[in-house]
Symmetry: C2
Subunit: 380 residues, 2 copies
């Protein structure tokens, strides 16, 4: 019988560009905030997992060294865009295993050190050597989806309008200015059908989470948030043999997570999904069963995924507005869902949110044969 | 009550320089060998942990993609020199937690992509910016130890003579030529007192391990090797305030591992320790309690740590002869100990070996305030 795991502390720094800060100096304020939020004596921490995709060796040790939080076992986890989401899962598993009672999870990334532009990818990836970049790949998915289901450019652009509207209410978002449909459509073309405002920005960031065994959670806070599911899925080797409008890795991951949590899409109040590009969020509506196949365009147009709708998707602003410092993203999604479930989300609070989901996926240009997809379901 | 964990399969490629091979092409032959060694249907694998320090994003996914071993959850782990040792520990923990019954652990690294020379370190590390490199750091430790305990240059050089002698019997070693004491002392000076032959070589490599719940191990092999302890320790923030001849992180780690395994140094038949430089092995003799403080020089001189001695240290040749492709080292240490405990080590077999230890440590130039040290104790 595995032990229950709860979140008792969360913290993050506002995502943005901090070229003058070292990685460790991005990370430590987030950790400090999460520990304070948990009302925890730092010495209670027994282990730490740090997710980073491009932070370099010993990122977790460097961050915790700044706080003097040394001596506890630290393990760094890399799974591209799911790095800190995967670190979260390792933390959950360590508590389930009975190895630790209290664990720290960190996500940290400094993308400004690469000088901006699209994510540096592995040159071993043959698609990368052929010139495929992330915007180009997602653009092909968008083109195909538009062709198959008649999605309009306006419907597609609505994802950015919604998420920038949400981000404007989030003090931790990198992009805090709302934008109109016209502004999205008229922004600089990147990879057709995407304009600039349909691509997530480059930036730096950090987020942190304190996890503990559910049995002791109320020693720290009266409102622990419980982890109902924490699943990792990898891609299958079938590139080119499938429909690229179906994010198969997420479909499989969603099925597992719903099963483990004993819930379905209709039970969710709020979700943070991996909207690296506008089309992505629409594909994930379908992968998570929020709407039927081919219905995502009409679904967002109906307002179903913003405040007052069936479920609020990316209340934080998502990757498009909150930003996407790769390794920090998964942890920041958990921070947002925990704040929502506690009722601490201020003007972007989802009324009466009781059940939320986070979803980070990525790795490998194709996202199919490589790739990692981490999904967590949290409940108050 | 945690479940027991056993090793049922091991494999590696000979360490060396493979500038023409991609990272994935270093990794997959090791994985294939480990799976074959376990007599396992690949579909029985439920999860994988891949350790790499500098392999780049999604190393595990890239390796397993080559074998079509996709779809299972893959997590990449980075802890500098302890990367695949830490990955091994995550695999152990996942089985203990009851998440999986059968897990693959990979260690893989391609250092030739950096063009040789000493390990690229994080420039955020202030000591690195001040010019400190790994050879320089260990040289200072050696100087201090020589000053404090009268260790001679000849005694120090004996570590290389011994490990090169061992490596000459290991078909997987990068350096297979034995060397004389004179050759070690006369080789090119690197950082006094180290000559070239007292520094581990740069190279590429991969190793893999199949772990399973002890309860089912005999389905696969009649001679499973059992994991008695698997511990990770991080450094403490006290740089400059301690005696640099005492590797404090290893002292703490050894204590934990002995406690968890219920054994002491006198029970060990064989050990693979982190001899990145000649002095390191001597300091670890003392840290592991193989001999007393200040006695390491006389201890190696007595032949206590080679064949016929009290305990054989680094029968594989260690980092000095087998090589040190950073992220692959910890997994390769486990490969060696498993072969020794099974009686499969050929001409370098330690007679009647029943209990063995692996030790990988590193990260952060100082190895103190940063750093990770992973120790595993295995028994037949």
């Amino acid at each position: 019988m595995m032990r229950g795991v709860s979140v008792i502390g969360v913290g993050m720094i506002p995502f943005g560009k901090y070229p003058e800060r070292k990685l460790a100096d991005l990370g430590w304020p987030a950790v400090k905030a999460a520990i304070a939020d948990a009302g925890l004596e730092p010495r209670r921490l027994e282990g730490a997992y740090c997710g980073t995709a491009l932070g370099g060796m010993m990122s977790g040790q460097r961050v915790l060294g700044r706080l003097g939080l040394t001596g506890l076992p630290i393990t760094n986890v890399e799974n591209a865009c799911s790095s800190s989401s995967s670190a979260f899962r390792q933390g959950v598993m360590a508590i389930e295993a009975g190895q630790y009672d209290v664990v720290l999870v960190i996500g940290v990334e400094k993308l400004t050190k690469f000088g901006g532009g699209t994510l540096p990818l592995e040159e071993e990836d043959w698609e990368v050597r052929l010139g495929l970049s992330m915007p180009a790949l997602y653009a092909m998915r968008a083109q195909r989806y538009m062709h198959d289901f008649g999605l309009t450019r306006e419907q597609l652009a609505l994802v950015s309008v919604k998420n920038r509207k949400h981000g404007a209410m989030n003090p931790d978002a990198q992009m805090r200015k709302p934008v109109t449909l016209g502004e999205v459509l008229d922004s600089r073309p990147i990879a057709d059908p995407f304009t600039l405002l349909q691509c997530c920005p480059t930036g730096d960031g950090a987020a942190a989470i304190v996890l503990c065994a559910t049995a002791i959670a109320r020693e720290f806070r009266s409102d622990p948030i419980h982890v109902l599911a924490s699943d990792l899925t990898s891609g299958k080797f079938m590139t080119g043999f499938r429909d690229m409008t179906i994010p198969e890795i997420t479909v499989r991951g969603a099925k597992k997570a719903y099963e483990h949590a004993g819930v379905g899409p209709e039970d969710l109040d709020v979700a943070e999904v991996h909207d690296a590009f506008s089309i992505a969020e629409l594909l994930y509506y379908e992968a998570f069963g929020l709407c039927g196949r081919g219905e995502a365009g009409a679904f967002i147009e109906s307002g179903a995924t913003t405040f007052g709708g069936k479920i609020v998707v990316n209340p934080s602003g998502g990757l498009l507005a909150k930003g996407h410092p790769v390794g920090a993203t998964g942890a920041a999604q958990v921070v947002e869902i925990v704040r929502q479930l506690r009722g601490e989300a201020g003007e972007r609070q989802v009324d009466g949110a009781r059940l939320g989901l986070t979803h980070a996926t990525g790795g490998g240009i194709s996202g199919f044969d490589h790739g990692a997809c981490a999904i967590h379901i949290l409940a108050r």
